[in-house]
């Protein structure tokens, strides 16, 4: 028998034994599969977590803001184009209308050995990773830890390209790095202690004249988990690249920042040759599994693609959302900078 709690304040939601629920798009499936048991603490009635606001020149995304709201928000689109484009490319319109920032960042892995009845893997409490010795076609090519499922959060990949403060009630403030750890603890999906509640993320200020792009490599046109995804932010001044942030997902059990690529960009002239040279080192340090070597090629290609798009100032992914989708939740508020 299971129970459901519907706390009406943040405090009442904290420290409860059980699993929090925001949009429920991840948790509902795991309940069906028996991967989540016990009490559900639903955040439906907890107020104040669903706003997009400016705080001293930084953008704050409440934990319960939906991905649809992120993608549609004019300020996000104008000042944080990489975040808007990423949110717009996740999953399907129906899912984005419910999926939240907090839920997306803290969702559990999508590994096909994990999400099935009777899962027996490291994340479900077993003793080994069946993907490593089995079929890992869509898994990591940077083998960072015992679990080889790629980190699922597209939003995390985008946020990693910013200085981000992750606000948590019931725990200290986190960076993305401390939120996810180093991937060595295969049993964990993130490092928040039980009972803690992510209340929002604060994104560092956008760069002046920032150009960004999001690219996801897939088979089908839409609504497919990425084989590789790349977020690029560039600031170019007087024909030179001042700042560069390149982050990638789908390749490791964590979202990764590609410092080697960034290093080859910063201070260099903003032209094709620079981008090509930088993209060429995108897979540096990769350790592919038997069946994921192809992702190295794909990664180099996707990084180059994203760099080119950013430079060409195409802020959105291959499939721009032409009409923004409204969110079923209360309209997000925003104050101008």
């Amino acid at each position: 028998m299971t129970a459901l709690e519907l706390p009406t304040t943040l405090d009442a939601a904290l420290g409860r034994p059980g699993e929090l629920r925001a949009g429920g798009t991840d948790l509902t499936e795991r309940r069906r599969l028996d991967l989540s048991r016990g009490t559900v603490i639903d955040l439906r009635d907890v107020p104040g977590l669903d706003a997009i606001t400016w705080r001293e020149g930084q953008l704050h995304l409440g934990a319960l803001v939906t991905l649809a709201a992120v993608a549609a928000h004019p300020d996000v689109r104008a000042r944080y184009p990489a975040v808007a484009a990423t949110a717009a490319a996740v999953a399907t319109p129906q899912i984005r209308a419910r999926a939240t920032v907090g839920g997306n960042l803290l969702q559990h892995v999508r590994c096909w050995y994990y999400r099935r009845p009777g899962a027996d893997c490291l994340k479900s409490g077993g003793s080994g990773c069946p993907a490593r010795s089995g079929d890992h076609l869509f898994h990591a090519c940077f083998d960072l830890g015992p679990c080889v499922a790629p980190h699922p959060s597209s939003l995390a990949t985008a946020l990693l390209a910013y200085e981000v403060r992750v606000e948590v009630a019931g725990d200290r403030e986190h960076t993305l790095a401390s939120l996810y750890g180093d991937g060595s603890d295969a049993r964990r999906h993130h490092m928040l202690p039980p009972g803690a509640l992510l209340t929002g993320v604060l994104l560092g200020p956008p760069l002046a004249g920032e150009q960004a792009a999001y690219v996801r490599a897939t088979s089908r046109a839409r609504a497919e988990w990425p084989l590789v995804e790349v977020v690029v932010r560039l600031a170019v001044a007087a024909g030179r690249i001042d700042t560069a942030r390149v982050t990638v997902g789908g390749v490791a059990n964590l979202p990764l920042r590609l410092a080697a690529v960034e290093a080859l960009l910063v201070g260099k002239p903003a032209h094709e040759a620079t981008l090509a040279a930088a993209a060429a080192v995108a897979a540096e340090g990769a350790k592919p599994l038997t069946h994921t070597a192809y992702k190295l090629d794909l990664l180099r290609g996707a990084v180059l693609d994203a760099l080119e798009r950013a430079l060409a100032h195409t802020p959105t992914a291959a499939t721009p959302a032409k009409t923004p989708e409204p969110s079923p939740d209360k309209p997000a508020t925003a104050e101008p900078t």
């Binding site: 419910r98 076609l137 088979s219 794909l298 693609d305």
Partner: protein
């Protein structure tokens, strides 16, 4: 071969009403047990219904109390009875469950019911005021944006939100295709009615389908209105009073011996009513997911908990997963004895021929070779003297493709008497399955009634009596309650049906002038633990004069069995053959169409060649590998040929009288448009509108109708319906003569006589009930083979020609289909809008096969990995490109009805056309499907 042991032992007979054993001597033994005193659980497994919700649904305020685990989908379908909202995946990937939450589409399957509190919920039933239509519904009807209709409510709901948003922002402007695709990216349609859907949404959004001043126009599809409004009831929607939910216990291992199945603890649980064995005396489990037993309980969660309480004593044995493991030297035989071999499931549509076995390899099946030695010699000669002609050799591989109908296999069975059962079944053959049920349970045929008013797709997976039906019927018998068994998507992707993977070693030999000298092919099929996949026979349909040495083998292993899938054997064989022909054309430096004209005496396809040669897009196609940049475009062509089948027993009955004209047959609509075809045919004879004819199908108590498989529905029904309608017409002509005293002639709507026109309605008004039964007469010249098991292969093969244009992204390895042009020679087209939609659906399924779809098993354990629609990827609305269809209708004058069926034909050639297009674009000649980005990148790197 010991049956499962229950707590009370196996009691044969009906002692104490406890254990029941049914079956004739020929029928498999079925053992089951009823819970002694089934008690209702005080509180469901999911906890007490403790959460009070207030919300509005379709405008009306509701308050309802739910349990903690309830999803909005369960609440809408079960508590509110709004069954237009469908479940097709259960994990957010298909959109069949779309509802509007405060006007925004969301997936009800992932929406906790408590999220509805104080919100506004709208389902498909509430999009328009009662009796009216939403403009999007009107557009779906008019543009024929649907086939089976199972996905339609979800699409309509999602599209209605887009419509509102778009019109608010853009007024009457028409959105482009990609904008519509982006808005509907969360909805999947397995019938692939996408092209019509895009058109419908574009037009509705530009204001073209606002409420008409007069009555609603009749749609091209007879039953479209029921499908767009959610009124159409599918098997999964049936809810009978007292109905129990049945769930199936499946093997967790790919290979195991069953020592004991003990369900006593399960039966003792509250809310559990009965259990039945599904091993039928078998003791070896041969794939993960194999059915072991089934349990009926008060609801699904209770049944699942009961399954977990069944004690399985298994001896786990090492599995062989895949062909390589099964063929490896020393591999243990999956079927070690002659008897076990006989128990291997049949993956084919026909009876199994006795063939030899060598370990796990069964075959060769080579009945259809012709001038075998000549073919071999032609190939051997060119191997030695390559300059004397062109020899194209290679091995082509294809993957397992799952049928993936959006309505899963589903059955609700209810015994109405000791010897009478009514079975609601998602089936492609109400008539045939009723016969099977009668035989299996030893019932009189008229005591079995199979009902399937609407079927959410089949594609070959629902042709025969399947285990979900066996389980439901048996559980219903044991529990004396109606029992519903519906497969979940994971089960569906395991045992719902699949097209075997293949490896085809092919050689095509031509002389120096490009005349075909011989074809040799050895095809190895991985249909898991099943046998009988014969594919090379299809090469006999092609390039008829050439010598052919063609043979098939099955390689059995511990994986789920295959089932006939739309064009069984076809897509793999054409993938190989039509690429080989393309390579030959390349080497001969000949236009691939002209080369095929040299090979091909088939008159139907020759019409298509001429059509294709006349296409500007073909004439002006750029030379191979013209693009050198990142994105490279190419155009490929492939052709196909398919049998046409007739069911000689097919009947159509017409009842006419003062109340109108009713045409009926025990056939079903699986999206192909059976009602439309019958109504159109009868109406055409009488010069009436199709809507004037009432059509009844989906009920086995009607006159025998065809099974919807082998593309035979239209070809079987049209002549029978015509015949019955003509009999009615002739009878009414005579009546008119008696009435007016002069011989008249039939004209549209009635009979013209010297003094005016008397309408059919007038003639029927005073008439006693009339009944005519039309049959399906033989074609002129008879059939290719005499009818076997009530199916006759026709003499005249259907032909298709497929041109596909692709763009290859050489950086990200992605292939995008830009345009496809499909030419079809399948005789007379009865309902053009529907035929077009069905044809495009087949092409798009072919695109899915070529680029995305792939069932994957864990190589170590044989467990299914692609268990949902996120991982098993059918094409989405953004993957189709632009499509057109061209019908060549003449050439089948000797066929009764002049129609030969196109459902399967259209899905044969797309993969090969894409392969040829990729080679044309990039020089990379693919051999293995699907063409995933990793394969493309690897291929391009050489």
């Amino acid at each position: 071969m010991s049956p499962p042991i229950s707590r009370r032992g196996i009691l044969r007979g009906t002692l104490g009403g406890g254990t029941v054993l049914v079956g004739e001597s020929c029928a498999p033994k079925i053992v089951g047990e009823r819970a002694e005193a089934p008690s209702l659980p005080a509180v469901g497994d999911a906890g007490p219904a403790s959460h009070a919700l207030e919300f509005t649904v379709n405008g009306a305020a509701r308050s309802i109390t739910v349990d903690p685990e309830r999803t909005a989908l369960e609440l809408v379908r079960r508590d509110l009875g709004l069954t237009g909202c469908k479940e097709a995946c259960g994990h957010g990937a298909c959109g069949a469950c779309s509802v509007l939450l405060d006007d925004v589409p969301v997936a009800a399957c992932l929406l906790p019911a408590v999220a509805l509190h104080r919100r506004k919920l709208v389902t498909v039933e509430g999009l328009a005021p009662a009796g009216e239509l939403h403009p999007v519904q009107r557009a779906f009807m008019a543009e024929d944006a649907l086939q089976c209709g199972f996905c339609t409510p979800g699409f309509v709901v999602a599209a209605s939100a887009f419509y509102t948003r778009w019109r608010a922002e853009h007024g009457d402007a028409e959105p482009d295709r990609d904008t519509v695709a982006a808005a509907l990216a969360g909805n999947l349609c397995r019938c692939a009615a996408y092209d019509g859907i895009i058109r419908a949404v574009q037009k509705a959004s530009s204001g073209a389908y606002e409420k008409p001043p007069g009555p609603e126009p009749a749609p091209p599809r007879y039953d479209a209105r029921d499908k767009v409004t959610g009124a159409a009831k599918y098997t999964v929607d049936v809810q009978l009073p007292g109905q129990l939910e049945g769930k199936i216990l499946r093997s967790p291992h790919a290979h195991a011996r069953v020592r004991k199945v003990d369900w006593s603890k399960a039966l003792a649980l509250p809310g559990v009513f009965g259990a039945v064995d599904l091993l039928h005396g078998g003791t070896t489990l041969r794939f993960v997911g194999q059915e072991i037993a089934a349990i009926a309980a008060i609801d699904a969660r209770t049944a699942e908990a009961a399954l977990a309480a069944i004690e399985l004593d298994l001896e786990v044995l090492p599995p062989l997963v895949g062909m390589d493991a099964a063929r490896a030297p020393g591999a243990a035989p999956v079927y070690p004895t002659r008897n076990t071999r006989k128990s291997a499931p049949n993956a084919s549509e026909g009876p199994l021929l006795p063939l030899g076995w060598d370990g796990n390899v069964r075959g060769p099946f080579q009945l259809f070779s012709t001038a075998k030695l000549k073919a071999r010699r032609a190939v051997a000669r060119l191997r030695e003297a390559p300059a004397e002609g062109v020899l194209v050799e290679g091995t082509y591989k294809t993957q397992v493709q799952c049928h993936t109908a959006l309505e899963p296999h589903a059955c609700v069975a209810r015994w109405t008497d000791d010897d009478a059962v009514t079975v609601h079944l998602s089936t492609q053959g109400v008539h045939a399955v009723a016969e099977d049920i009668a035989e299996r349970w030893g019932l009189r045929r008229d005591r079995v009634r199979v009902l399937a008013p609407y079927v959410g797709g089949g594609f070959g997976a629902k042709v025969t009596l399947q285990l979900e039906c066996v389980a439901a019927v048996e559980l219903a018998r044991i529990t004396a309650r109606p029992v519903r068994v519906v497969l979940e998507r994971r089960e569906e992707l395991t045992t719902g049906g699949l097209r075997p993977a293949q490896e085809i070693e092919l050689a095509v030999a031509t002389d120096r002038d490009g005349y075909l000298q011989g074809v040799t092919a050895r095809a190895f099929a991985d249909a898991g633990c099943s046998v009988g996949s014969t594919s090379t026979v299809l090469m006999r349909l092609m390039y008829a004069k050439a010598p052919k040495d063609i043979a098939d083998w099955d390689v059995v292993n511990h994986a789920p069995p295959g089932k006939p899938f739309r064009g069984p054997g076809g897509p793999p064989v054409f993938w190989a053959l039509e690429q080989a022909v393309d390579i030959a054309a390349e080497r001969l430096e000949l236009d691939p169409i002209l080369l095929r004209k040299r090979f091909d005496p088939n008159p139907a396809r020759n019409h298509l060649y001429d059509w294709a040669l006349s296409l500007k897009t073909w004439r002006e196609r750029q030379p191979a590998q013209s693009d050198r940049g990142r994105f490279r475009r190419g155009m490929g062509l492939a052709v196909g040929g398919w049998f046409y089948f007739v069911q000689p027993s097919a009947r159509v009955q017409i009842d006419a009288g003062p109340d109108g004209i009713v045409a009926s047959t025990a056939c079903q609509d699986i999206g192909n448009g059976t009602r439309t075809v019958i109504a159109a045919t009868v109406a055409a004879v009488l010069g009436l509108a199709p809507a004037d004819i009432k059509v009844e199908i989906g009920d086995s108590s009607l006159v025998p109708g065809p099974t919807s498989g082998g593309s035979r529905t239209t070809a079987s029904l049209v002549p029978a319906a015509t015949m019955a309608a003509e009999q009615l017409r002739d009878e009414l002509l005579e009546r008119a003569e008696q009435l007016v005293g002069a011989r008249g002639v039939a004209v549209p709507g009635g009979v013209r006589h010297p003094r005016g026109v008397v309408t059919w309605q007038q003639l029927l008004a005073g008439s006693p009930p009339l009944r005519f039964v039309g049959t399906r007469k033989r074609d002129k010249g008879g059939y290719f083979l005499p009818p076997m098991a009530d199916i006759a292969p026709g003499r005249y093969v259907a032909g298709s020609l497929q041109i596909i244009e692709v763009e290859v992204d050489t950086r990200l390895g992605k292939i995008r289909v830009l345009r496809s042009h499909t030419g079809i020679a399948a005789g007379h087209i009865v309902a053009p809008a529907l035929a077009r939609s069905q044809a495009l659906g087949g092409v798009i399924q072919g695109i899915g096969y070529a680029l995305y779809e792939e069932r994957r098993l864990d190589p170590n354990t044989g467990a299914l990995l692609t268990g949902g629609l996120e991982d098993y990827r059918i094409p989405g609305i953004g993957d189709i490109g632009e499509l057109d269809v061209h019908f060549v209708e003449d050439g089948y004058e000797r066929v009764n009805g002049r129609s030969v069926g196109l459902a399967e034909l259209v899905t044969l050639a797309p993969a090969a056309a894409i392969g040829n297009a990729v080679a044309h674009a990039t020089g990379f000649r693919p051999r293995e499907l699907p063409l995933r980005p990793d394969r493309v990148l690897q291929g391009l790197r050489g």
